[in-house]
Amino acid sequence: MDRTSSILKIFTRKLFSFILLYGCYLISHGHLSPGGGFQGGVVFGSAIILLGLVEGVKLTEKRFREDSLSLTKNVGMLVFIFLGFVGIFLGYYFLSDFLPRGEVGTVPSAGLILLLNLTIGFMVGTGIAVIFYRIVRHKA
């Protein structure tokens, strides 16, 4: 009983990679243009949610398994705290910027901000996808 229209399916398959690409752009350019880890992560998660709504959660779970998504979320949180402790080990304070700076206006210009955006982006995207899986599959 598959009543999803083929227009939705085809467009979702075509758009999926572009939505992921847009999320990557938002995360990696978060310190240069509007965007950042939270917003880019939500775009990531919305791509997976769109695939789950159109193709069905079972098919989506074969590609994006809930275990690995949940593992990415947990590891993201740990990496965030670990990056904070690296600052202490190198002689600065907690979560201080210990990386060298590039030229202002390029992607590696902001040091630790890019890494923190990456970890936040992965954490938020996978976390939202995991919340979506759980809510959709829940039978009251």
Partner: protein
């Protein structure tokens, strides 16, 4: 007697609330915004001033936000389990967290 205490307490509370309302919030205080605008790019290297504040100057706040999000995702993960049977019976071989 207790009503007199309660009334006095309410009056004191109302006085503090009223004095808080009377404050002038229309003007900037402390000058921290001028500091961020003047030296933010040089100190953090981020052109986006919002990112420069929430991931460099106020990064502990962002750590708290990430923790809140993580806790909420974990709460959904725990509450809406896979294959929840009647009376909270769980299937075998399930992992949490």
């Amino acid at each position: 007697m207790s009503r007199i205490y309660a009334a006095t307490l309410l009056l004191i509370l109302a006085f503090f609330l009223f004095s808080a309302v009377k404050l002038d919030y229309g003007q900037l205080r402390g000058g921290v915004s001028e500091y961020y605008i003047a030296r933010g790019v040089a100190e953090t290297g981020a052109l986006n001033m919002v990112t420069a504040i929430y991931l460099n100057y106020r990064v502990y706040d962002t750590l708290g936000e990430a923790t809140v999000f993580f806790a909420s995702a974990l709460g959904v993960f725990m509450l809406l389990r896979k294959n929840t049977g009647p009376a909270g019976r769980q299937e075998e071989g399930e992992s949490d967290g």
